[in-house]
Symmetry: C2
Subunit: 282 residues, 2 copies
DNA sequence: CTACATTATGAAATAAAATTTCATTTTTTC
DNA sequence: GAAAAAATGAAATTTTATTTCATAATGTAG
């Protein structure tokens, strides 16, 4: 996709002269998009046809077309990357870095999510007799938030951030119940056990976790939320945010599935909150 | 910046023929980047020099340069926009829309945040005798999360999502205490009162809210998190996620300010959690 | 409404840029 | 080390963009 990456990748399939072109481009791509083929050829000490052949080798129609691709690569080049905070960063720097990393993680999480699994999960949720959300630590917040959301839908929903209550609830679950277990690492022993217990009691277990973890193996459906965050070394940050976004997705899917009459009901809940607020003056 | 927006803006400063060009471009910009000046002229039923003049009017060097700008606009054009979910969206569609909207909101929130305020807030937090986080509804989750984070730093921190406890805590606050009040709307009466009470008792009140709300007026520092979300009509989604990102920023600023010895301590907390996990097999 | 000025427009000429052709050089293979 | 294959660049060609300039359209003052 990105032509700069492509150049780097194909660097060894290029001829000697073509590689010279590649190097000049990689050294300063932003200059190149304003150069003519002649200027670039001179810069790389090779002839114009070589530049042209170089462009064609990268599956572009010719030099102008190549420049177009290059321009596009530069435009969205590394938009949101996981940039690590540095010891000496200013407030502005670490603020930007954290926001950007969060956005990068959301992008990643979105890609790791399977729309089919989302769809099946929404199916199960709309048909559930009871919905439970379990999480610990940072994921407890996500479970809490999920309860908040689904509570508005007027469906039986509980959340526990306490190991014992989770176990008890899991043991008392039955067919038709949906248990959503949230854990970024997917390796928290007690949560894996809870998932296993719920499963033994015929509840449907949906996991919100990283691919291939012990927790994932215990679940009927796994909603994969990969975010490349090392919570062993750092505080959980992006992981819980990606999980929350997923909760939004499930809640949205739920309301869509339930149809418009149901959404009128939501409006009522909102209206009932209004008197507790100062009026807006705009 | 974005050339497509620029065209739209300057539409009425253009001549009749030039507007024809603009319309053709706006109708299908992706086609245009692969057209020659002759092709575009023909498409718009005007002459080639007119296209050229059009390009110059938009502060580009000429047609090829214009195409470059256009290509860039298309590359990151409308990167993350707030796209509303539609009744008939598929799981894939609404998943993508929600993730994109969330990212768009984070981008917005970042822009609305003032690094100076962040810096001052971190200052105050590092020097606080006690830190309290107050929120209700969706913002309660944010307060909860904040407590989780700051608890790891081994500083006196509390959180309340209950009106009475918040009031009591606010009344008992004193100089040197920092109270962080979180509310997207900034118009929740009881929270505004709590902020006011804390302020009367000489605590420093930091608000995490939207610009210019009643809550904002009661705060010593306002951390502005604007996200253009109508929580009167919809469930809170992006707002709480942006708030969480801000909590991450504050927590990060806090650890940076406290220096490296302090960070060793964080590692200990993490290590103590390890035995509760399944070992990783990679 | 006319005469003048201003601006807008396109045909044709020119200039610039990119591509193709083909001869020469370099590299590879046997 | 000779023949084949591949790479390269000079020059010609083609394509594309720009400039020039004459004409048309539009606006303005008397």
């Amino acid at each position: 996709m990105n032509i700069l990456e492509k150049i780097t990748n194909e660097l060894d399939t290029l001829s000697k002269s073509e590689r010279k072109v590649a190097e000049v481009i990689l050294a300063s791509p932003s200059t190149v998009i304003h150069s003519s083929i002649a200027a670039l050829a001179k810069q790389a000490n090779i002839s114009e046809p070589t530049v042209n052949r170089f462009c064609r080798r990268l599956d572009t129609k010719g030099y102008p077309d190549f420049k177009l691709h290059l321009a596009q690569s530069l435009a969205n080049g590394t938009p949101y990357v996981n940039r690590h905070v540095d010891e000496n960063d200013s407030a502005e720097e670490y603020t930007d870095k954290i926001f950007e990393s969060t956005m990068a993680s959301l992008e990643l999480a979105r890609k790791s999510l399977d729309a089919n699994d989302v769809n099946r999960s929404v199916d199960l949720l709309t048909q559930a007799n009871k919905i439970s959300f379990f999480g610990l630590g940072a994921s407890a917040i996500v479970a809490h938030d999920a309860q908040n959301k689904f509570f508005r839908f007027n469906v039986p929903v509980v959340y526990f951030d306490d190991i014992l209550m989770q176990r008890m609830s899991a043991i008392n679950s039955r067919q038709g119940d949906v248990v959503i277990v949230i854990s970024h690492t997917g390796r928290t022993k007690s949560l894996v056990e809870v998932a296993s217990l719920a499963k033994e009691n015929d509840a449907t277990v949906i996991g919100i976790t990283t691919k291939g973890t012990p927790l994932a193996k215990e679940c009927s459906i796994v909603l994969t939320v990969d975010v490349c965050e090392d919570t062993d070394l750092y505080m959980p940050m992006s992981s819980r945010i990606a999980q929350l976004a997923l909760i939004d997705v499930l809640a949205t899917g739920f309301t869509l599935r339930r149809g418009s009459k149901f959404r009128d009901n939501l409006k009522k809940v909102k209206d009932s909150l209004r008197s507790s607020r100062f009026e807006r003056k705009d």
